[in-house]
């Protein structure tokens, strides 16, 4: 019962917080992607984005759900080819980034609100378990992370379908690359981001927060950066991604087991 009440509180208190801004920015980036593609303004994407997209795409279009014959037919229309390659190679990469940022932000922000309003004291004086206070923040963070993840996946999928129908005249079947990034890497980022935020929240440490703030952006960025070497085949890239996902989930589990011991009432009172 108290967990339900605490969850209700968590969802209520996102008003005016960074969580709303993160929702808006993730949707904003996707909307920008769509508008540029819709109006055929692919030249407005950065040179690096365009080059990377076309390089990866041309190495093995099948991994991205497009046949070689279809690519051959598109060679006369370089803008359409570029638009398609950006959507199928780059768009799935930003999903883990926003998913990680949202999960981390919502958990850490929730602890931050208690710190700024000094409300942890009132919560601790009420008949709730300290474990439920932490759990409510965790579940609410996961909820927002999953929300952003699913919304982004649905929108990215819809965008690719739209372009596929427009250019190829057929429905696009989710490729191995898309599935790896959206259904393996993104959930693994939810795991990692949630436990790092929990760790910072439980300790109430600003120093730890400053380090993890960077980590949580750098890891998904690394997912994009490792795709840079031109000689890396998309198959190898997918393998690396699977290792990253495995490492993220494993380290998350270790931190969760470890953090149970770190929930310390005194630290909550001193730091909050």
């Amino acid at each position: 019962m108290s967990l339900t009440a605490l969850l209700w509180k968590e969802l209520k208190s996102i008003k005016g917080s960074k969580v709303i801004a993160t929702y808006a920015s993730s949707l904003g980036v996707l909307a920008l992607f769509f508008l540029l593609i819709y109006f055929g303004q692919v030249t407005l994407f950065t040179g690096l984005t365009r080059e990377l997209a076309i390089q990866q795409f041309m190495k093995d279009p099948k991994i991205f759900g497009i046949s070689v014959d279809e690519v051959e037919k598109l060679k006369d229309n370089i803008n359409e080819l570029l638009a398609l390659s950006i959507l199928v190679t780059q768009l799935p990469m930003i999903i883990p980034l926003f998913t990680a940022i949202m999960t981390y932000t919502s958990i850490w922000e929730s602890f931050n609100v208690e710190k700024a309003c000094k409300t942890m004291e009132v919560l601790l004086a009420s008949p709730v378990k300290i474990r439920d206070i932490v759990l409510a923040k965790y579940i609410s963070g996961i909820f927002h992370g999953v929300n952003v993840w699913l919304i982004n996946v649905a929108l990215a999928f819809a965008m690719i379908q739209y372009l596929s129908l427009r250019i190829l005249g057929r429905l696009w079947a989710p490729s191995e690359f898309f599935i790896t990034l959206t259904f393996i890497i993104a959930p693994s980022m939810i795991c990692l981001a949630s436990v790092l935020a929990l760790l910072v929240g439980i300790r109430g440490s600003e120093t730890l927060a400053k380090v993890f703030d960077k980590v949580i952006v750098l890891i998904p960025l690394a997912v994009m950066i490792i795709a840079l070497p031109a000689n890396l085949h998309p198959k190898q890239l997918i393998e690396i991604y699977e290792y990253i996902a495995l490492a993220s989930v494993t380290s998350s589990l270790i931190i969760v087991l470890w953090s149970r011991r770190m929930i310390n009432r005194l630290s909550f009172i001193v730091n909050y």
Binding site: M1, K9, S13, K15, E121, V122, A125, I269
Partner: protein, 299 residues
């Protein structure tokens, strides 16, 4: 009722409070008086189940707070120092959060807001309210589940005179059928509670030095202190020594204790007629140490 038995709390290596014991029965007020940093908040954190004691125990309505916290905490309403509300939420939402925890109906939430005179503000965001109104909302949150024991940490701090007056009346009203435990660092607060069943504890450096009926302290507090800033302190001292006026010197000023405020005019007149300039006259707070000294002799 609440029974506090020999609680020691803080850090293991450096406890903040030592062996604090007191008990308060129904329809009574217990005032914990002490200077800032004396251990009042730590004591309150222990008796509200926030901070576990190193030793000792707290019984609320005969339920051990630290072995059955969920049950015992339902009997307690807590108003911490400050308001500790969520500023971006409305008044009603702030109460609803805790209403769900305490399983309080919406009508009870609205009733407590009404009791504190803030029901018409239920849809207003807390950040738009004055400190006095926020304190009322926080108090409404503390009482909405109809607790038997109300713990109020420095309830009058940072409030305007009007808010303090109305809050005092509300507290006195609560004492009619509840246990109220409140802390303050202002000796002058004591006189407002002399007419109700009230007790006083004085805490200094984490030790409860005095535990007595409040009425014993009120008669001392009732003699007001007035600070006089004068042109010649030595001459003033000499003149006052020749009278039966009780006075002390404090940082180049004279602090006189008079039976009532009106008596100060004759002292000022005496000083002025002796050629001494009186630049400032203001009421002063009775030092806790003085009260402690006098009560220690009596208890």
């Amino acid at each position: 009722m609440i029974e506090v038995n020999e609680i020691t709390a803080g850090y293991e290596s450096k406890p903040v409070i030592h062996d604090i014991s007191f008990s308060v029965g129904k329809r009574a007020l217990y005032v914990l008086l002490g200077p800032n940093g004396a251990g009042k908040t730590t004591t309150f954190r222990v008796i509200t189940g926030i901070l576990p004691p190193i030793k000792g125990r707290v019984l609320v309505n005969s339920v051990d707070l630290w072995s059955k916290p969920e049950e015992a905490k339902r009997y307690i309403g807590y108003l911490p120092e400050g308001d500790r509300l969520y500023p971006d939420l409305t008044v009603e939402d702030n109460l609803k959060i805790f209403g769900k925890i305490y399983r309080v109906s919406k009508s009870d939430i609205l009733r407590s807001l009404e009791l504190l005179g803030v029901d018409d503000l239920k849809d207003v965001k807390v950040k738009k309210l004055s400190a006095g109104l926020r304190k009322r909302v926080a108090l409404a949150r503390a009482i909405m589940h109809n607790p038997d024991v109300l713990v109020l940490d420095e309830p009058f701090a940072n409030l305007d005179v009007e808010s303090v007056d109305s809050l005092r009346r509300i507290i006195i009203d609560f004492v009619k059928d509840k246990v109220v435990v409140l802390s303050t660092h202002r000796v002058s607060e004591l006189s407002y509670f002399e007419e109700i069943n009230s007790y006083l504890g004085i805490i200094v450096n984490g030790i409860l030095r005095i535990n007595t009926r409040l009425i014993n302290a009120v008669r001392l507090v009732k003699k007001p202190l007035v600070v006089l800033k004068v042109s010649d302190i030595e001459l003033s001292k000499k003149i006052l020594e020749g009278t039966n006026v009780e006075f002390t010197l404090r940082e180049n000023m004279i602090v006189v204790q008079v039976p009532k405020y009106e008596d100060i005019s004759s002292i000022i007149k005496l000083l002025v007629e002796s050629g001494i300039g009186v630049y400032e006259v203001r009421p002063a707070e009775q030092p806790i140490e003085t009260l402690l000294k006098v009560l220690s002799k009596e208890v």
